[in-house]
């Protein structure tokens, strides 16, 4: 392992296997990781119960605290932080994968209808079969997301599918499913409709250790996904024809990437609701921090996604006003200005 300079002039860390990782990307990953840990530590001290960051950190490593403080720490704050990070990680990862797959910077699980597929399936379960066990929810969400992915591939044609066709068909299905969701909201009892609206706005209320345990396998799945699809996405970034020319088996890898995105998205939707727009903004913010492709872009995007959800949830808990601040809205409040700033920065760089 040694440092070297690539043909494009970027300094890289070159491994014995031939793998090059730009030093700027490593620095960006380190910076984001530190930022994530700092936000997480800060989030431990935010909430209605008087429990400072210092006390919380000491309690995490075994110091004694009061019952109320222990409840706040172990039953509320830590589950929120961990589940929020994992869900944000998965949604942002899906967004980054779909953007490369469709060669469109606007693509995300929401725009392609994958989130809506999982969301509508869950809404149908909650509205029409409220008595069924809650444990079915992840599988129902997964079925909804996979159903949409299969429908997209079927409608655009398994063989002919190009990125733009997938995106346009996804938008059509997303529009239809959003209409179905509105209809379900309209024709359910007010209390059910209100509860669904809260969930649709993004919520970590249900965060608990059992939910985290249920989500952990999906989060763990994201790691091999990053390793396996990173190289393919690098090819897709260059366009379908170039990807084919580079030896990418598009017919096999495209549905595989789509299925991976569905799995991660559906798990997140089940846990925290559809975090609309996160899949779009996180990869762009990651790009602004450090330009990257393939696996590195996936990791940086996922870190930004996790960071934004933890920050959004912290803002929600810090909100002491009498007006509700859903987590989805808090993420938007934090993420959109960053997104706009990155776009302005990119525009300025282009002019220069």
């Amino acid at each position: 392992m040694r440092t070297a300079r690539r043909l494009d002039g970027r300094r890289v860390l070159r491994f014995a296997s031939g793998l090059d990782v730009p030093l700027a990307n490593l620095a960006a990953a380190g910076f984001l990781l530190v930022l994530v840990l700092m936000i997480m530590a800060y989030a431990l001290g935010v909430g209605a119960t008087a429990l400072g960051i210092g006390d919380a950190l000491r309690a995490v490593v075994g110091a004694g605290i009061g019952d109320g403080q222990a409840f706040a720490l172990w039953q509320v704050r830590l589950p929120h932080i961990l589940l929020g990070f994992m869900a944000g990680w998965c949604v942002a990862l899906s967004g980054a994968m779909l953007q490369s797959l469709s060669q469109n910077p606007l693509a995300d699980p929401g725009l392609l209808g994958l989130s809506q597929g999982a969301m509508v399936a869950l809404m149908v379960l909650l509205v029409f079969f409220p008595g069924l066990p809650h444990g079915l929810a992840p599988f129902v969400a997964l079925a909804g997301g996979l159903g949409v992915a299969a429908l997209i591939l079927f409608l655009v044609g398994w063989d002919q599918a190009d990125g733009l066709a997938i995106l346009l068909m996804g938008i059509a299905l997303e529009t239809t499913l959003s209409a179905v969701a509105s209809l379900l909201l309209l024709y359910t009892p007010p209390e059910t409709s209100y509860a669904l609206s809260n969930w649709l706005a993004g919520s970590l209320f249900g965060a608990s250790w059992s939910v985290i345990a249920g989500f952990a396998p999906w989060f763990a799945l994201s790691l091999p996904v990053i390793l396996l699809v990173g190289r393919s996405l690098k090819s897709f970034d260059l366009g379908d024809e170039t990807a084919l020319a580079l030896g990418e088996n598009v017919r096999r890898s495209r549905p595989a990437i789509l299925v991976a995105a569905v799995l991660l998205t559906s798990a997140s939707v089940t846990a925290v609701g559809p975090l609309i727009f996160l899949g779009v903004i996180a990869p762009h913010i990651a790009d602004a921090i450090s330009r990257s492709t393939g696996r590195t872009r996936l990791v940086l995007s996922a870190l930004v996604g996790g960071l934004l959800v933890v920050a959004g949830d912290t803002l929600t808990r810090a909100n002491t006003s009498d007006v509700a601040l859903p987590t989805g809205l808090a993420i938007t409040i934090i993420g959109v200005p960053l997104f706009i700033a990155t776009l302005r920065l990119r525009a300025l760089r282009t002019v220069q």
């Binding site: 109320g68 409840f71 809650h134 359910t188 009892p189 209320f205 909100n319």
Partner: protein
């Protein structure tokens, strides 16, 4: 000494266990609730807090209230229905509406949390704080005072409920005698106005009072069909169908989320939706309309039913 401590511990543990009992709530969950809860948190103000307060139960936290007990909802139901002050009753909030805060609930140290069947998804989380009892509240499943009667039976407050109901039934008889005609042979229809006109089917104290007076529900075009906007409670009615309504008594109220709910406000709102309604609607021409304040009469409590009786009595007097 150690033996004495052990015996005392076992005695008090036994006493504590005797004060709880396992029950099955309306969502079919097995839950161990206190025999005589001392600190209750509720997840719905009009459907749960009000019936529990009417039964004299100690509610310390209620959805839709601020930290100081002030109402954060469009309407202060405790004040409008019970004429009480949530702040003075010591009822705190449990987070901004839509953002239930587990830490705030925990800080209230409840020994029981009562929710509706719509709160089933939250029950697991809340159970980490106190036992969660879910009470049916949905239209078509319970109506009138049924939810309050069920809560009274569950928490050994049937004496309080029966006494209030007996006084209410005396008042029903008194108001019935003051009404023109024979309610037992007459029909009614109740309307609530949101951004459109809706027929109320069940649930509220108002409907309980009207039917206890003897009125029976009139047939109307569209009755029995699938409906939107919370099927069961309020069923949308077209302006054309509204114009053809002719029950013996037509009850009309504005939405409880509106600040203006008196007769003048209701008339003004109807004028906007169906201009000239008071000239072609037969009950309006023949003075067979009763205007109700939904903020006082729409909850499933005896107090709401009594507000309705007051309105009927005033109508009969005029």
């Amino acid at each position: 000494m150690r033996s004495l401590i052990l015996i005392l511990s076992l005695f008090f543990a036994g006493a504590a266990m005797a004060q709880t009992r396992p029950v099955t709530d309306d969502a079919g969950r097995e839950v161990t609730i206190p025999e005589d809860p001392k600190r209750i948190v509720t997840l719905h103000e009009p459907l749960l807090t009000l019936p529990l307060l009417e039964l004299g139960m100690p509610v310390v936290g209620s959805y839709g209230r601020g930290d100081n007990g002030e109402s954060l909802l469009a309407l202060d139901f405790i004040e409008n229905v019970l004429g009480a002050d949530g702040e003075a009753l010591g009822i705190s909030g449990i987070g901004a509406p839509g953002n239930i805060d587990l830490e705030r609930i925990r800080a209230l140290e409840p020994d029981l949390i009562v929710g509706t069947e719509h709160d089933a998804q939250k029950a697991d989380q809340l159970s980490a704080i106190a036992p969660v009892y879910l009470q049916n509240s949905r239209s078509g499943v319970v109506s009138g005072f049924e939810a309050e009667a069920a809560l009274a039976e569950r928490f050994a407050r049937t004496d309080t409920f029966d006494a209030k109901k007996a006084a209410y039934l005396d008042r029903v008889a008194e108001v019935r005698d003051s009404l023109p005609g024979n309610p037992g042979e007459e029909t009614y229809l109740a309307i609530i106005i949101y951004d459109q006109i809706n027929v109320i089917s069940a649930m509220s104290g108002a409907i309980q009072a009207i039917e206890d007076l003897g009125y029976s529900k009139a047939e109307w075009q569209g009755a029995g069909k699938a409906s939107g906007y919370g099927s069961g409670f309020a069923v949308p009615l077209s302006s054309e169908a509204f114009g053809r309504l002719d029950p013996d008594v037509l009850v009309i109220m504005n939405s409880y989320s509106s600040d203006e709910r008196d007769e003048a406000a209701i008339r003004a709102r109807l004028d906007r939706i169906v201009p000239g309604w008071d000239r072609f609607l037969k009950p309006a021409r023949e003075d067979r309309i009763i205007f109700l304040d939904s903020g006082a009469t729409a909850t499933p409590t005896i107090a709401s039913a009594e507000h309705t009786l007051d309105a009927f009595e005033a109508w009969a007097r005029d």
